[in-house]
Amino acid sequence: MHHRIDDRRTNVSENNPNPTLLSRLGRGEADALREVYERYADDVYRVALRLTGSSADAYDVAHDVFVGLPEAMQRYDPNRPFGSWLRGVAVRTAQMRLRSARRRREVALPNVAGLAVRSRQEAVVDRLTLEKALDELSPDLRSVVVLRELEGLSYQEIADLLGITKSAAAVRLHRARRRLKDILRGNR
């Protein structure tokens, strides 16, 4: 179920849920939560999975986001696209989880250098390699790569989502790509 990323982003931003649904969600009505879940759970789970790299963590992130969503609606600005805002909440929640998970981590990360790209002829960074390499990045750097390369967001959209400046988004993206380059070529 691959979407063209730009199409998907456009759909989300143009089709805000109706205000009544969002009001009911804010009051914690289960039916409203179910309806919002069915519409946005894929997006939330996908971004959580890509950021955390773990289906267990993605599950927990999506769980926490939707459990806390009705209360968080107090902070939602109805003039903003709901889908983007919700994705931002998911990104922040995933980042928090990643930070605490990294502090807990005791086992060394797998060496992905063996999966590294060797030459242009075989220069296909496959999905598995990228997933493992992403796991080596700090949460901040991982987030910008995911949002840019996987979610297809612009620098400004990344900046808005992460609450950083566009310049900071550009710096982090360049840093992240360079780090990935080193990891994939075994130059860490």
Binding site: M1, H2, A30, L33, R34, Y37, A41, D42, V44, Y45, R46, L49, R50, S55, A58, Y59, A62, H63, D64, V65, F66, V67, G68, E71, A72, G88, V89, R92, T93, Q95, M96, V117, R120, A123, V124, V125, R127, L130, D140, V145, V146, E149, L150, G152, Y155, A159, D160, G163, I164, T165, S167, A168, A170, V171, R172, L173, H174, R175, R177, R178
Partner: protein, 715 residues
């Protein structure tokens, strides 16, 4: 400068991948990428990342997730979700302009680092036959190796050849050449070499064919001079010898000048240089008598030259001699003759530039006039013009001279200064950046082939890293000053990748990151500054207020990680070689072996002749270093060629210098250590091994502290 096809930077490739380059830049970058395997591979990687990213699996959430959510909410479970924060405002600049200049000044000093190799085996010998060769003559070389180089099938003798005009500050200090030496069956390695027709002087070292082990005669190198038919060394040879020795060994340099005045008393050059050097070392009581003798000699030379037809260099030597004698009228007289004879002579312009007998406006007009004549469009004129613009603090004028000079600049420091002037202005920024990238390529590609005699290939790589770091940090600082913080950060990132530990870089980058509002990334640099043992604590205390949400635990964790990084980087640049034997004299006149003085303690040998250079900053650094090491196991020993005297003791008392001072008679130990320059900082570990030649006293203190951390001391 050698033009080199420039590779797009990582940032440019990223912008190309993100379609953020303008049409012209995009076209040029694509054209390069198509033809360049390295950039093509990088570009492919960026594209592959995107393709792989967008092809990643996209599973739906597990079916039981919704039920869990609804059930947990029904049970009253609530989560507090993080808010999406508003985009931050950029922070104001933190670093005062003067401090920023200081950062660069301290880094620029890195570029002058001299790394010496293992002190060679003392028993080695090199014989040159004939001993008094003529320019253009073939010489035979016979080398008897010490322990280190015995048993090799072949050895390589490397020479650095200097001609009559090889003169600093230009980098035309001669050319490298080499001779393969082969065993003659009698324990000697022999070879021969044809001296060039314009040969004046050469220094030599011997190494194995890999270059990893070298004998540089304990840092002193071997030398050969050009002679006349009657066996007298040529004045050009003595001058070149002096130029080589003046930064290494003052006693030997002075001997060369003495020889020149004995053999060539009619040449003002030797006398003027001798007077200048005597001023540094002669007791004040003798100075008046000495100067009177020089004045008399100067008058004799004047009478001889007035009757003849002196060359420009002879006239220039008279200007220097008059200047050393502080005879203003004579300076004006001989300077006038020099300008008439050779208006673009370096000395003439230098005197114009220091405003000797003229003002800055007049000096500027003079240089512009020179530039208007095609034959005077030289690197020397360019330097003078650029300096005039700097003195006048005129940015437009400086940019104009920078544009003129860049094609003529023949050393990296000068080219960097020129390029940074272009980077500072929006209209010329791209060109300035391009020039610096060309310099980086040039440094990467050239240092290996012009390896100084003292350096192993590994040490050349280290120096190249230092130089490239200097270039990149210089560019990063200028980009930050020019309102380009993103480009500045990326440039500083690239500088950091070269592996040095540089608090000044971290401070600069922290500022750049704060200016784009990225507190999170800036915090890493804060941790590095926090971990650095010599970075001023008051600055760290001031910076920590910028991170109010950082907990003490987070700070401690970050500092610990940064400390590990520091240890790795600092130790990576180590020289690690044995300490040559040596003796020092205590103030009471007792001669002690160096090992006795070290007594197994990690030590900084501070080689400093305060008579040669006494600057407030030197004293402040020594005081600070002793404070930092106070109470710990590390120590600083001050080593000077200056004999113990009341003057020296008074100097110590005046400034509260409590560190022990020892005399190195004849600078024997300093020479054996490869002591170059007027100050040197050598770090020795507890086992008596040299760990590094630091670029500054603070760097030496940091290195000592890293050794004391102990984690890799025994590695």
């Amino acid at each position: 400068m050698i033009a080199i096809k420039r590779h797009p930077s990582w940032r440019e490739l990223n912008r190309l991948a993100d379609d953020e380059l303008d049409a012209d830049a995009r076209g040029a970058a694509l054209k390069h990428v198509a033809a360049c395997p390295r950039c093509s591979a990088n570009m492919s990687l960026l594209n592959d990342l995107r393709v792989a990213g967008r092809g990643m699996r996209h599973p739906s959430p597990p079916k039981d997730l919704l039920d869990d959510i609804l059930r947990d909410r029904a049970r009253g479970l609530r989560t507090i979700l993080p808010a999406v924060p508003p985009s931050p405002r950029p922070a104001r600049r933190l670093l005062p302009a003067a401090a920023a200049v200081a950062v660069i000044a301290s880094l620029a000093g890195l570029a002058t680092l001299t790394l010496t190799s293992e002190a060679g085996a003392g028993a080695s010998e090199l014989t040159v036959d004939p001993a008094l060769p003529l320019p253009g003559e073939r010489i035979r070389l016979a080398y008897r190796p010490g322990v280190e180089l015995r048993g090799e099938t072949e050895l390589r003798l490397r020479l650095r050849l200097r001609g009559p005009d090889s003169e600093p500050p230009r980098q035309t200090l001669g050319a490298y050449d080499e001779v393969i030496l082969r065993p003659d069956g009698d324990g000697l390695y022999v070879g021969s070499f044809q001296l060039p027709p314009d040969f004046a002087y050469a220094v030599m070292a011997v190494e194995d064919l890999s270059g990893a082990r070298l004998d540089d005669r304990g840092g002193r190198l071997w030398s050969v001079r050009a002679h006349a038919d009657d066996g007298t060394p040529l004045p050009d040879a003595i001058r070149q010898e002096f130029l080589v020795l003046q930064n290494r060994s003052w006693p030997e340099a002075r001997d060369a000048l003495h020889e020149m005045t004995l053999l060539y008393p009619e040449m003002a050059e030797g006398w003027s240089m001798q007077l200048t050097y005597e001023d540094h070392t002669r007791p004040p009581a003798e100075e008046a008598v000495n100067r009177a003798g020089h004045r008399e000699h100067f008058r004799q030379l004047e009478r001889q030259l007035e009757q003849g037809n002196p060359s420009a260099d002879e006239v220039a030597a008279m200007v220097r001699y008059a200047w050393a004698l502080e005879d203003q009228a004579a300076v004006e007289h001989w300077l006038g003759r020099l300008e008439a004879l050779a208006p673009a002579h370096r000395l003439a312009m230098n005197y114009r530039m220091v405003g000797l007998g003229s003002d800055q406006v007049e000096a500027t007009q003079y240089i512009e006039l020179l530039w208007s004549v095609e034959e005077y469009r030289t690197e020397t004129v360019c330097r003078a013009g650029f300096r005039a613009a700097e003195v006048a603090n005129d940015a437009d004028f400086a940019r104009e001279w920078a544009t003129r000079c860049l094609p003529l600049a023949d050393d990296h420091d000068f080219a960097l200064r020129l390029a940074l002037v272009l980077v500072a202005h929006e209209e010329t920024r791209e060109r300035g950046i391009r020039e610096i990238r060309m310099l980086l390529d040039h440094v990467s590609e050239q240092t290996a082939e012009e390896r100084p005699l003292h350096y192993t290939p590994e040490e050349v790589q280290r120096e190249s890293r230092v130089l490239r770091t200097t270039l990149r940090v210089g560019l990063g600082r200028q980009l930050l000053d020019s309102g380009e913080p993103v480009a500045a950060v990326l440039e500083l990132d690239a500088a950091e990748d070269l592996g040095l530990w540089l608090p000044d870089l971290y401070r600069l980058r922290l500022e750049a990151l704060l200016s784009i509002g990225d507190m999170s990334e800036a915090r890493s640099d804060f941790h590095r500054l926090d971990a650095d043992p010599v970075y001023p604590r008051e600055s760290v205390d001031s910076l920590v207020r910028l991170f109010p949400s950082m907990t003490p635990v987070e700070r401690e964790e970050g500092r610990g990680q940064a400390e590990d990084e520091m240890i790795e980087r600092v130790l990576d640049l180590e020289v690690r070689r044995g300490l040559p034997p040596g003796r020092l004299t205590t103030p009471a006149g007792q001669s002690l072996a160096l090992e006795t003085l070290l007594s197994g303690r990690p030590t900084i040998l501070l080689l400093w002749d305060r008579r040669a250079l006494e600057e407030p900053d030197d004293i402040a650094q020594v005081l600070r270093a002793t404070d930092l090491l106070a109470g710990g196991p590390g120590q600083i020993l001050w080593v000077t060629p200056e004999p113990a005297s009341e003057s020296l003791q008074s100097f110590r008392r005046r400034y509260g210098l409590e560190l022990p001072v020892y005399q190195d008679p004849g600078s024997e130990l300093a020479a054996a250590l490869g002591y170059w320059g007027v100050r040197s900082y050598i770090v020795i570990d507890g086992t008596g091994r040299i760990r590094t030649h630091a670029h500054s006293l603070m760097e030496a203190v940091r290195h000592l502290e890293v050794l004391l951390l102990g984690s890799r001391d025994s590695a």
